[in-house]
Amino acid sequence: MKMDGMTIRHASAMPAPTWSWLKMNDVTVKIPDGLERTCQVEIEAGDTLDNTTSFESAIARLQERLDAERSDARADSRAICVAATRKDKGAEDLDVPALSSYEKRAALSEMAGDVAADFETGIGINARAYLNFLAGGTAVLAAEAGETEQANIRVTAENGTASGASVDIIAEDGATFAVTISLDSTAEQPTFMGSTLRVFAGRGARVDLTVYVTASDAVTLMEDSGFVLDEDARVTVRHVVLAGGFTATGLAADLRGDRSRIDVETSYLAAGTEQRDFNYVIRHRGRKTLSNMDANGVLTGSSKKCLRGTIDLIHGAKGAEGAERETVLLANHGVDNKTIPTILCDEDDVAGNHGATIGHVRPEQLFYAACRGLSQEQTEALFLSAKLEDAALRAPNDAIRAHVVRLGNQIVPDFEEEIA
């Protein structure tokens, strides 16, 4: 049965919006008309497939503990909280600031301390609902306390289909869970694919997620995820987005437990008229939480990219540190690169920093490469091929590596032989 096309507005919205004329606050995802709903998803999960636990119950247990811990906490009397809970009195009360709608939402969420209500995914609720509909149900994969587990999720889509996966990952206290997701398609006509993921990392648990996107330029794609981290949990994420007509990558993480940590590494390429969209939202709620976001990309042709990265240092996250960095190489005239690295901060004992470097290869890099015999064109091409080589070398399994090699052979002469 063919489905009607659909438009998801305000997807991947950043928490604190800015001027709308910049058209960077969110993205509109257009799902092509006339696609056939299929579920081409393979999950290789060993014995982690689990019907006895759920993401909701994991959150509920965490909430219970947090509530017990803060039962004797005094009501928050900060001016920001006063402002959030009453009508704006303007300049009549000079002690209370006038809040933006975002600041108001943030203060209310801080005061409520409701893990389930705060849960979010990077692209957002509408995208998640659509992907859940495509998937037809959510697979729950769990690593029991102290165990080490692994799972591979493969999503493919054929010409004219819409295919999606929905998975919950639960790493109980002290467990280690390595998960890979491959979103791959060689479709030549409009096609949609995606995945949505909820991850709970219990106390001291470790979750490593690697996502490779190697879809053709006919594909519209959404890769959506949301994380909740308990005390001392550690999550690493690697997003490798090498191809795809329109791709939206969204990640939201709630560093709820003290000393929890997330590291996100993003590597992307866009060529032709492709479009990349990334939305990262890292909420530091626990003490001494750490986050790192590091993105590195190359844009060629007339491709477009927007990366929103938000580090949110929430009141109470004493000793938290968040850092984000992006390096983008613009290899052609006509590319459009949008970057908005945001730091929100409602706490003083924190450190936040971000940096972005956008542009061409720096003169000293060009000179160095030239001293080794590379012209400017060759050096620029090197950045592109290096990205593919790196993706192939670090591919988590043979299937994914084969997808990268397929792409590499289209772009780099002798790619397969070079990395063999």
Binding site: W19, I80, G90, A98, L313, L330, T342, N353, T357
Partner: protein, 470 residues
């Protein structure tokens, strides 16, 4: 040292607090109507084209929603605007009505008596009129025009030029308060620097009297022709006291080829103010605009000076500081458009939050496909003085040219306890130590100001920090 953290309490706000009773205003029930706008225009005896633009702006104003991304402005009673703008409104402000606290603040900032009443925005003025005339004389001998914009509008020689430039950089469609400004603007400065003329002392706007209004909706139009050079200083670091609590001014700066303009402002409004000010400069080939901007005071602030680099090799630099204390939500930053080859822009900002105040640094750097060979660097640092305040950094970059270098760095944090301890171990009180560190943090801005302003700004920071340690 005691283990307990010392609270950074707010300064004695009564320094700035004062309000008019409702009876001070002639309250009108109707909102802003075309009739009121016509009345304003008629009163000013303006050319017909200006009335037309006002009416057009009014229409845009009524059709434009409030901004949704910035600090709340629900508390701003827009019906009051009528009372600010009605020509017959008796502002009933005089020096005697200025609270003693404000007068004391002037004293403590070291501002000469003669300037205080003007700074307070209460009209009557003494010796500074003389200062203004002296300044005007010297400038006019060089061919520079420095006058009220309304006066200039009555001179046929300048009317055509004003008509050509007025609200072209900041069109009323830009945002709701630009539209409001276009409809009800009143007073402000007009500066024209002819080709090749370089003025070696700054023109200072606060010396120029503007009897009709206390700078609520003033319009500043500055044209610096090719190869000319000007430094213009707007306002100063003393609190600007106004009868009304909305300020929606507009500043339009035109910088010619190889010309240079430095525009310095320390805006320090009384703390009941909604400051929604718009400033914009356009630079032609090899022209340069330098912004020095300090934002203090006001309840809500929206302020983002913008540079449009329209000519090859034109340049912009922005140096700014924002200090948000209790009850303040200051949303400040800047915008740059790299619109031609080989342009360069630098942005360096500092923001300080304290006592429950909120400061947001917001910026945009846009490089159009024409900006080949351009470079921009943005650096912003935020300092949190306590854990009840808030500080956000929202910098956007949209880069569409290939051979460009765009760099961005931002950090946020607090004063290191080790630094405070070090200074205290050398005999400073905690308050002195913190004040010294904050002044050092602000130094990149104050060092760009003329000495007397730098001193005033440092004193202002000291005042803000005073009583900060329990």
């Amino acid at each position: 040292m005691a283990k307990n953290r010392t609270e950074v309490a707010d300064i004695d706000r009564s320094l700035y607090d004062f309000s008019y009773g409702e009876e001070g205003f002639e309250r009108l029930d109707a909102g802003l109507t075309p009739d009121i706008v016509r009345e304003i225009s008629e009163r000013k005896n303006e050319p017909a084209w200006m009335l037309e633009r006002r009416l057009k702006s009014l229409e845009i104003y009524h059709n434009t929603p409030n901004p949704t991304w910035g600090p709340g402005i629900d508390g701003l009673d827009m019906d009051h605007i009528v009372t600010y703008v009605k020509p017959n409104t008796d502002q009933k402000a005089d020096w005697d009505s200025v609270p003693d606290d404000i007068k004391n603040t002037f004293e403590r900032l070291g501002i000469p008596e003669a300037e205080r009443s003007y700074l307070a925005g209460v009209g009557a003025q003494y010796d500074s009129e003389l200062v203004y005339h002296n300044m005007q004389d010297t400038a006019s001998k060089m061919g520079i025009v420095y006058s009220g914009i309304e006066e200039a509008l009555h001179e046929p020689k300048w009317e055509a030029l004003i008509r050509e430039k007025f609200m072209t950089l900041i069109p009323p469609t830009d945002h709701k308060f630009a539209a409001l400004h276009g409809a009800v603007w009143s007073g402000g400065s007009f500066v024209y620097v002819p080709k090749g003329v370089k003025l070696d002392f700054p023109l200072q706007s606060y010396f120029r009297l503007n009897a009709a209004g206390a700078g609520q909706f003033e319009h500043t139009l500055i044209i610096v022709e090719d190869d000319a050079d000007l430094h213009f200083i707007e306002g100063c670091s003393a609190p600007k006291y106004n009868v009304a609590n909305l300020h929606a001014g507009a500043v339009e700066l035109f910088v010619g080829k190889r010309a240079h303009l430095r525009y310095s402002t320390i805006e320090n409004w009384s703390k009941n103010m909604y400051n929604l000010n718009t400033k914009r400069a356009r630079c032609e080939e090899e022209g340069e605009i330098e912004w020095i901007s300090g934002s203090f005071g006001s309840h809500v602030g929206y302020l983002y000076p913008m540079s449009v680099l329209a000519g090859r090799k034109s340049r912009s630099s922005f140096t700014g500081i924002t200090f948000a204390g209790a009850g303040q939500n200051l949303d400040t930053g800047c915008k740059v458009v790299l619109g031609a080859p080989d342009t360069t822009a630098t942005v360096e900002t500092k923001s300080i939050s304290k006592g429950g105040g909120i400061s947001t640094f917001r910026s945009s750097i846009v490089a159009t496909p024409a900006a080949e060979g351009s470079a921009a660097s943005v650096s912003c640092q935020s300092l949190m003085l306590d854990d009840i305040s808030r500080s956000d950094t929202i910098p956007a970059m949209d880069i569409r040219a290939k051979n460009v270098d765009i760099g961005h760095e931002a950090t946020i944090g607090r004063i290191g306890d080790d630094k405070v301890f070090y200074l205290m171990s050398r005999g400073m009180s905690e308050e002195e130590a913190r004040t010294m560190i904050v002044n050092g943090f602000a130094n990149p801005v104050s060092k760009e100001l003329p000495l007397e302003y730098a001193v005033e700004m440092n004193n202002l920071i000291k005042l803000e920090m005073e009583g900060a340690i329990g």
